[in-house]
Amino acid sequence: MSGEHAIKAHGAEHTEHHDPVANKIGMWLFLFTELILFGGLFIAFAVYLHLYRWDFRAGSGSLDKILGAVNTVILLTSSLTMALAIAALSRKKVKASLSLMAGTVLLAVMFLGVKAVEWGHKFHLDLVPGSSVMQNKPMGEQIFYALYYTMTGVHALHVIIGIGAIAVAAGFVKSGRCHAERPGLLENVGLYWHLVDVIWIFLFPLFYLIG
């Protein structure tokens, strides 16, 4: 035992520990930092909602509830396909897992598409920070839109990163480096994707449903 250890000691550096529990702990800690990152934005939202209740209602009323609801359904469904992709891999159905991941990415792209339509419509109405239309609005509404663009924008950025992460995981599953016995990478990407989903679950009522 010790001899083996000594031989290893003069070899290369340690790069991998094969410790699935550590990988899970690390991922949860990372998700925790992500929650706190959004927490800063949610604090700002809470403060300004308190200061400008009526302006926030007016701002919220101008958002398209239908599109928001559609996006919520899309993102929830994508979480389901992601969970199914992980379940499929653990049953060694690699092909099914890969198609479910492709489905998840497709839904994510649809989400971004709907988002682009929403933002595009607002830009069309010249509802952008600094525009004359915006500056004629009450202060609270200006802040509402500032937070709307910032928070949904930061969230959309996470969706894009999530798409990249799913693509990487798919590559690992395809090449066989991530498989039923070592599904850690896919599981962690799945956790990340559910986080993106959970944050949207909070953004949706705060922005679309208080009007």
């Binding site: 035992m1 010790s2 250890h5 000594a6 290893k8 000691a9 003069h10 070899g11 290369a12 550096e13 340690h14 790069t15 520990h17 410790d19 529990v21 550590a22 702990i25 690390g26 800690l29 990372f30 925790f32 930092t33 992500e34 706190i36 990152l37 959004f38 927490g39 800063g40 934005l41 604090i43 700002a44 403060v47 300004y48 200061l51 400008y52 920070p129 600094g130 009450p138 202060m139 609270g140 200006q142 802040i143 500032a146 937070l147 663009y149 910032t150 930061v154």
Partner: protein
């Protein structure tokens, strides 16, 4: 067990042929290393450069303050020097500081592990550090920034100097800090050697564990806050702009929700190092091990709830002011617990005045002054008088410079022989410590007095009645720098010409002293035994 004992006894002067330093050669082997010890040295290199950089800034603007009126440069340049000094020292030296260098090097060894849990992530966090450091230098090339290291709005949105680059630097450095914290927490949970239960861990490990939690819970807040400022400045999205209904005080809250816990990121690891040094050089088991361990956790928890004491004069509800003042007083309790435990450890100990102990002993009074003046800042009535004066500057430097940096140097002297396998000259080390101590107090004690007399902080000029204080302080800064240069020269000389060090030159009992000097790449040639008391000295000192 026997093998460990054999290493201690047989620890002669022979340097093992293969160690982490010579295991691989070439620049590329360093830039792609995943060895926690080598990454620690990469951090040390970066930090030394930025420390010198910060010193040059400070000595330069201190020189401008030697007399009232304009001596060498105007207020604009003064503001930029002041900001760069703050940004470099805070974000590039003392926040990564002890965890990134000594934590990286010794946390795995002290718990008997071969490396951290995520070695490649560890390297990534160094590259984040490097990127942040380079951005800080780019910022200097672009003429610097004049907002102060706190980047307060609305000025940071309106100023004509370039705030994008230093803010990006702070953002990226934040990720470096988060990744280090995440790595350390996971490592402590997963990689403790067989038999090492939580209350057998060295206290330095406890302090790093508590620090890791602050790093991952507080740092994301500053990240998103800086993003909001940048969006406001460059995209015109008003979040803090009062003319569009925003609240600049919200920025201050968000900034300090990170930046106050950050001072515990800076000081907790230093307290951990002191808890290592004191028992070793008192030849006595640490007094109140569990209390010290718990006080680290207590400081991390309560310290996250005191941020608004930076804003007593900014406008806040009276109830909130009272609550934050009370919590500020409360956080002093676990800090004091540590100080009393160190003193009790030394009581009737067999005290050895080797250089690491000298730095450790200097920490106690300097930190006590820093901590007690913190209570004067934290009391609502006195804070109104001294807020934004030189008093706060002096308080801050007593804790962060006389606390964290001083112990960074102490840790350097304590672990230098283990890290590099060579010993420095003790006389020179003592000399540099003495000069530093005199210079330090000469620099900052006058600032306490000037602050009470009404000298505002961050001003390039002052009324003639403050001349004596500033003159003293500027002369003090020269003495202090002299001490620092002698200290660095001594260590640099030892790096190349020092005598070979023994495996356990101080008689330490924690695991890092049981392995070879310098340690092999995977830290231990024989698997270490974790089931040992961390500070195992005879309870009674023999005459």
């Amino acid at each position: 067990m026997t093998s460990v004992a054999a290493t201690v006894d047989g620890g002669g002067t022979a340097t093992p042929a293969r160690n982490y330093l010579n295991a691989r050669a070439g620049l590329l082997s360093w830039l792609t290393t995943t060895d926690h010890k080598r990454i620690a040295l990469l951090y040390l290199g970066g930090m030394t450069i930025f420390f010198l950089f910060g010193i040059v800034m400070a000595v330069t603007f201190r020189l401008e303050l030697i007399a009232p009126g304009v001596q060498f440069f105007d207020a604009d340049i003064y503001n930029r020097l002041l900001t760069l000094h703050g940004v470099a020292m805070i974000f590039l030296v003392i926040i990564p500081g002890i965890p990134a260098v000594f934590g990286n090097f010794f946390l795995p060894i002290m718990i008997g592990a071969e490396d951290v849990s995520f070695p490649r992530l560890n390297l990534l966090s160094w590259y984040c550090y490097l990127a942040g450091g380079l951005l800080a230098l780019v910022s200097l090339g672009l003429g610097g920034v004049d907002t102060g290291w706190t980047f307060y709005v609305p000025y940071s949105v309106k100023t004509s100097s370039n705030v994008l680059v230093p803010m990006l630097a702070a953002f990226i450095l934040g990720w470096s800090s988060i990744l280090t914290g995440l790595n350390f927490i996971t490592t402590v949970h997963r990689l403790r050697a067989k038999g090492m239960r939580w209350f057998k861990m060295p206290l330095f490990v406890w302090s790093l564990y508590a620090t890791g939690w602050i790093q991952i819970t507080a740092t994301p807040v500053i990240g998103i806050t800086l993003v909001m400022v940048l969006l406001e400045r460059y995209m015109g999205i008003p979040i803090f702009d009062a003319s569009a209904g925003g609240d600049p005080i919200l920025y201050e809250h968000l900034f300090w929700i990170y930046s106050h816990p950050a001072v515990y990121v800076m000081i907790l690891p230093a307290m951990g190092v002191v808890s290592e040094i004191i028992p070793v050089f008192s030849r006595k088991t640490i007094f109140g091990y569990k209390f010290i361990a718990y006080s680290s956790i207590a400081i991390a928890s309560i310290g996250s709830l005191v941020w608004a004491h930076h804003m007593f004069t900014s406008g806040m509800a009276d109830v909130a002011r009272i609550v934050f003042s009370f919590l500020t007083f409360l956080v002093a309790v676990p800090s004091a617990v540590k100080v009393f435990n160190w003193l009790a450890t030394m009581y009737k100990g067999s005290i050895q005045l080797d250089p690491p102990m000298i730095w450790g002993l200097m920490f106690i009074p300097l930190f006590a002054i820093g901590g007690l003046t913190g209570l004067i800042n934290g009391a609502l009535s006195t804070d109104i008088h001294i807020h934004d004066t030189a008093f706060v500057v002096a308080h801050f430097h007593y804790t962060m410079f006389g606390g964290t940096i001083l112990i960074f140097i102490g840790a350097m002297h304590y672990w230098f022989p283990k890290m590099f396998g060579r010993m420095y000259q003790h006389f020179t080390a003592h000399l540099s410590a003495g000069i530093f101590f005199v210079g330090f107090n000469l620099t900052y004690i006058p600032l306490f007095a000037a602050g009470i007399a009404g000298m505002p902080r961050r001003y390039a000029d002052y009324l003639p009645e403050y001349h004596a204080y500033h003159l003293c302080s500027t002369i003090g800064s020269w003495v202090m720098v002299l001490g620092l240069l002698i200290m660095m020269g001594n260590l640099l000389r030892a790096l190349f010409k020092g005598k070979p060090a023994k495996d356990n030159p101080w008689g330490g009992t924690t695991l890092e002293w049981t392995t070879a000097t310098p340690p092999p790449t995977l830290n231990f040639d024989e698997p270490p035994d974790g089931n040992r008391e961390p500070y195992d000295y005879p309870t009674e000192v023999k005459e």
